[in-house]
Amino acid sequence: MTDEFVTGIAARLQGLAQNIVRVKPQRVFAEVPREKLLDVVKILKDEYDGYHVTVITAIDSGEKFEILYHIVAGAELFTLKVFLPRKDPTVDTLTGILPGAILYEREIHEIMGIRVKNHPDMRNLLLPDSWGEKGHPLRKDWVDPRTKGVK
């Protein structure tokens, strides 16, 4: 049963997503190129009842940024991985399809410096108003200006 589901969705997302695996029940991982992200999310929403975006995780893995969209679709929790080059961390907004993503996109924007295209509202969400240009604290190369890296 489990494999049927994965092969089914792999066939449906042919050409849109790679490496679709189910690591354990209810945890499906897939890699999506950023141009195809909106198409995949739309398919998940329309055909797999994927209305609930749980959270968006941004990871700094050196060369690249990884954006992980955790979306509950039917009985499964999908994790769509999008890789972004460090020089151009731009991604399309999901808010047109899933309005619930608005706060999470603001969050990845300010703590990781991901540019979200066409986002309706890009003010600070978590960082203080006085934060200014101190950078994006969750990047691995970010240095706390208070200590300048000295422990």
Binding site: L127, S130, W131
Partner: protein, 143 residues
């Protein structure tokens, strides 16, 4: 004479303003629990007030975050003299587990002067009463 009376009433019935400057809520619910029937701090005259302008004691919980730093100073300045600050909980005393986080300044005493510290994570409701009583005793004895 009048001053003595004011002082007496202040010691007998301290009005407390509670301010959360970045706490995890653990200390905050224990403060409320201290006012509830089991511990009933109100029988000692302790009254929780919403506005700092009415309060004698500022009960601070949590480490000071970047966003709350200015607001904490503002709240402190709004309180009438004489004012007392109690740092409630380990984070308010020193920053505790949050020390070193990028948006945490440290304990309350990094920002405003503190008169009494109540350590614990979170301190039990009895500790709140103990802390307030100790503070007031010190105030009563000071001339």
């Amino acid at each position: 004479m009048f001053e003595k009376m004011v002082k007496l009433s202040r010691v007998k019935s301290p009005w407390v303003c509670h301010f959360n400057s970045g706490s995890c809520n653990g200390c905050d619910i224990e403060i409320i629990a201290a006012l509830m029937p089991r511990f009933d701090a109100e029988r000692f005259g302790v009254l929780l007030k919403g506005s700092p302008r009415h309060a004698d004691v500022l009960l601070c919980t949590g480490p000071v975050t970047g966003q709350m730093k200015e607001r904490l100073i503002k709240i402190y300045e709004q309180m009438p003299e004489p004012k007392f600050v109690v740092a409630f909980g380990e984070c308010a005393c020193t920053g505790a587990v949050y020390t070193g986080a990028y948006n945490v300044e440290g304990g309350i005493d990094k920002v405003i002067p503190v008169n009494a510290y109540v350590p614990g994570c979170p301190p039990k409701p009895e500790a709140i009463l103990d802390g307030v009583v100790k503070l007031l005793t010190a105030f009563k004895e000071s001339e």
